[in-house]
């Protein structure tokens, strides 16, 4: 049994960090992530956590310091958004190769230019190829639980990879919702301490970490990294089952909402999935058989499970909150890849919505469902929701 608190998504992330009580937190403030470290700094100042909080001069330094702390054996966390992640990129790309299970709270915000502080997914979609586990959260409750889950998945001996927990900037990070915070002692037991099977800063058995590796071995290290990523599925399931014992909830790779008999399904990440559920309810009330699939675990991508879930759906619309200029949008690409192996493939339509924080309304998602049901699709071109002109 938990305690219900009225908090924001950012505070939900900070609450999870309070319970995780990491050894080190390093972050640099950036809108809309700032309230996470602001809140957490309060816990540090009040002595609620034992964490050493390291003030740094940039996000590049933040991730570098987190890498240093984790190399020494500490449990380190950070949080960032958009330009901050962009500045961090060099170290973000190095972290999975170093096999350091750092957990980062990413509050999704549009990338410049033009400069914008509001939500879209262009920040995270720029790092999906470098080897971080990516988990998406619809609301503050999911942010809280996903953050707890992330630490255990990251640190599992079969994985040892960094994890980003995503939430929508402002929409989730700054909106107050009721969030159930579970018992401190139970969560503390679930989270445990980082167990090390490597003596990293052991001067008796000194090692070189992150040395130059030339064509004779680089390829082998990268293949080993891919193997660790493939283990995430089983670890995610196991850790999810353990967390269920505390929360009573399930931790699937994705959530389906009224998809069983659906004639059309919309796929959308994060907070817009909540909006889409309201649209599904409205359409269902009119007798229209529509549903939603909300991806949660985006890296590694559960191709087989997605294929199984969508194999009988006649038409699928995938809504992306970022573009891959000159190519298929990132979420749409993955769903198209997942469904390629089917003998009889669903019809698909790619939509772009919500860039730079443009609102998306239930009526707009209802219009998407109407379009999907009408069969007036264009497989060659993505369509835009809420765009002028």
């Amino acid at each position: 049994m938990g305690v219900r608190k009225a908090i924001t998504g950012a505070q939900a992330a900070a609450e999870a960090m309070r319970q995780i009580n990491p050894d080190v937190v390093v972050a640099y403030p950036i809108t809309p992530q700032t309230p996470i470290v602001e809140e957490f700094a309060k816990y540090v100042a009040d002595g609620v956590v034992d964490t050493e909080m390291v003030p740094v001069e940039s996000e590049h330094s933040a991730m570098s310091a987190a890498v240093g702390a984790e190399t020494a054996g500490a449990r380190a966390m950070s949080a960032t958004s958009s330009q901050g992640l962009a500045l961090m990129w060099e170290v973000v790309a190095a972290t999975p190769g170093l096999r350091l299970p750092i957990v980062v709270s990413l509050v999704n915000r549009a990338l410049s230019a033009p400069i914008n502080i509001h939500c879209d997914h262009s920040d995270v979609m720029g790092v999906t190829t470098v080897g971080w586990v990516q988990i998406f959260s619809e609301n503050a409750q999911e942010v809280y639980e996903n953050t707890l889950l992330a630490v255990r998945v990251a640190e599992d001996s079969r994985v040892q990879l960094p994890v980003m927990v995503n939430q929508d900037g402002f929409i989730t990070s700054h909106a107050v919702e009721p969030v159930e915070i579970f018992d401190d002692a139970l969560v503390e037991k679930f989270v445990g301490v980082r167990s090390l099977d490597r003596a990293l800063l052991d001067v008796e058995h000194a090692k070189s970490v992150g040395p130059l590796v030339l064509p004779d071995h680089y390829f082998e290290f990268k293949r080993a990294q891919e193997e660790a990523m493939s283990k995430v599925f089983e670890v995610y399931r196991e850790v999810g089952t353990e967390l269920s014992a505390i929360t009573g909830k399930q931790y699937p790779f994705f959530e389906t909402y009224h998809t069983d008999d659906a004639e059309a399904v919309v796929v959308v990440l994060n907070s817009a999935a909540g909006t889409a559920k309201a649209a599904v309810d409205a359409m269902r009330a009119q007798g229209k058989r529509v549903g939603l699939l909300k991806p949660i675990l985006f890296r590694p991508f559960p191709y087989a499970e997605i294929r199984e879930a969508l194999k009988d759906i006649p038409v699928i619309g995938v809504l992306d909150r970022s573009m891959d200029f000159g190519a298929c949008a990132p979420v749409y690409s993955e769903f198209r890849n997942a469904l390629w192996a089917l003998g009889k493939r669903p019809a698909m339509q790619s939509y772009i919505y919500g860039l730079g924080g443009r609102d998306i309304m239930t009526t707009e998602i209802e219009a998407v469902f109407e379009e999907l049901l009408s069969g007036k699709l264009d497989a060659e071109h993505q369509r835009y929701i809420g765009l002028r002109g």
Binding site: Q160, L200, K207, G210, D216, E220
Partner: protein
């Protein structure tokens, strides 16, 4: 890494034994070789501090070594550049206030040593 490992055998997180750079002799990268003239050296240690590869060793000499103007320098003195690690960047020659180091092309140095 000397032996060729498979992807199943590589160490987690790219860790190697300590001090791998000792086994990695970068002197083979050199195009220019520093020629040190002990008779022009004041053992000021500027070259030692500037060398990015720590390839200029120092030693302690009680008896002293003959340097610039025939003067005997005692105590900590620089000795011959370690050509196993010197990449030939020429910073030592550029910084030396006594012009005790000159850079010559590696093949000229090789030819000179052959003649000897």
């Amino acid at each position: 890494m000397s032996e060729r490992k498979t992807w199943q055998e590589v160490e987690l997180g790219i860790e190697l034994p300590a001090a791998t750079s000792l086994a990695y002799k970068t002197g083979g990268w050199r195009v220019l070789r520093p020629i040190f003239d002990p008779s022009a050296c004041t053992h000021c240690m500027i070259c030692v501090g500037y060398c990015p590869d720590m390839a200029i060793p120092v030693a302690t000499s009680e008896a002293g070594v003959a340097g610039k103007g025939g003067r005997v320098f005692k105590g900590v003195v620089r000795v011959a550049t370690n050509l196993d690690y010197c990449k030939g960047c020429g910073i030592c020659a550029h910084e030396c206030p006594s012009k005790a180091i000159t850079m010559i092309r590696e093949e000229e140095a090789e030819q000179a040593s052959c003649k000897l």
